[in-house]
């Protein structure tokens, strides 16, 4: 009896599938295109590219506002992980051509400052201010975390300054590597191979022997 019922149920399911069927491929394609168009209008576009550098594979990304990410010494997946999951990511070397050209000149010792619009919209006001102050540090020069805090008129904020620098989304372009501890120690660097990369950059700029 149970077997018979099961067989009959199977027939009901078969009938159900045959009757209700599914939508036509053209209907699916039409709807898929419509949703994709909507997402194009809705979601921010992040375009990115990569290049070889003395610090390893270097990635850079731009949003509609400007350069929004630079990373090196890490893998592609780790680089892309940082972007908001709602953003549309598009590998487009042309979009970062200008960035890569300036970085190449920097690595070749032919450029010390960058002329690029930078998008810091994901940062807090304090983090932005810290990075703006950091841009004032000339190549070949180093400041202490304390000096940056003083420049912000918050002399007791050396630690928050360090935390803000660790959040710098565009290392090298905003030279957070030019900030070191009061005792002369390099202290920390989140880019590439960490302190090794920081030392290399400072040596390139002539701040360290």
């Amino acid at each position: 009896m149970t077997t018979r019922t099961r067989r009959t149920d199977h027939a009901v399911v078969k009938q159900l599938r045959a009757t209700l069927g599914g939508p036509a491929q053209s209907a699916l394609a039409h709807s898929r295109a419509r949703v994709a168009r909507w997402l194009t209008d809705q979601a921010p576009l992040i375009q990115w590219g990569e290049m070889s550098s003395p610090l390893g594979k270097l990635y850079a990304a731009v949003s509609g506002r400007g350069l929004c990410a630079v990373d090196f010494g890490h893998g592609e997946a780790e680089f892309l992980e940082r972007f908001h999951p709602r953003a549309r990511l598009e590998k487009n070397p042309q979009s970062v051509e200008r960035v890569m050209a300036q970085l190449s000149e920097y690595f070749a010792g032919k450029r010390s400052r960058f002329d690029l619009p930078v998008d810091l919209s994901t940062l807090t006001q304090f983090q932005k201010t810290v990075l703006e102050v950091t841009c004032r540090i000339a190549p070949g020069e180093v400041w202490t975390y304390h000096r940056v805090a003083e420049a912000l008129r918050r002399p007791r904020s050396s630690r928050p300054v360090g935390q803000a620098l660790a959040r710098n989304p565009v290392p090298i372009v905003i030279p957070c590597h030019r900030v070191i501890a009061s005792n002369g120690a390099l202290r920390g660097y989140s880019g590439g191979s960490g302190l090794k990369a920081k030392r290399w950059l400072l040596q390139l700029e002539g701040a360290f022997e």
Binding site: T8, V12, T19, S31, V35, E81, P85, R86, L89
Partner: protein
């Protein structure tokens, strides 16, 4: 790597469209395709708004189905409140009648099955559609409908039983 919103479209758009299209089988509006398209757009719009708040271990497929179920049933309620049952039956009959490649008796059976499916209680219809037409397993169905797995099984069982008994008559 965390799932990106774009991937939700690539991976699940077609099945979500098919799901709402099937749920709208009893829709009285003249263009089920357009209606399904509008609903799928709404599903993704809602999903987009809430995407950032999802936990890392969320089952995105079940989550999308849940949104789709809510959107489709809200739409069906609007339609139901707006028009009479007579129009519904007339539309279903017209839709079936337009398929000329099937025999008259098969057409009759199909009409009967469609009618019966549309007469099922909302939860039974959703359960049976999710299980046998969308191929979701019971833990996923339970997540989609916010019920226990036992309840999902019971609803599928009841739906199939109703259909079987009606077809045997």
């Amino acid at each position: 790597m965390a799932l990106r919103f774009e991937e939700l479209i690539e991976r699940h758009h077609d099945e979500i469209f098919a799901y709402v299209w099937r749920l709208l089988a009893g829709d009285r509006s003249s263009d089920r395709k357009t209606e399904a398209e509008d609903l799928v757009q709404e599903v993704y719009l809602r999903a987009y708004r809430n995407f950032s708040r999802l936990r890392a271990n969320t089952n995105h497929r079940a989550w999308l189905y849940k949104i789709a179920t809510n959107c489709a049933y809200r739409r069906l309620r609007q339609i139901h409140n707006g028009r009479g049952k007579v129009a519904a039956l007339a539309n279903v009959a017209a839709a079936i009648g337009s398929a000329s490649d099937i025999s008259a008796s098969q057409r009759e059976i199909n009409r009967g099955v469609r009618f019966l499916v549309n007469q099922l209680p909302a939860k039974q219809k959703a359960c049976v559609t999710l299980r046998y037409l969308q191929d979701l397993d019971y833990p996923e169905i339970a997540q989609v409908l916010g019920c226990s797995q036992e309840s999902a099984r019971a609803n599928v069982y009841q739906a199939i039983r109703r259909l079987r008994l009606a077809l045997e008559k």
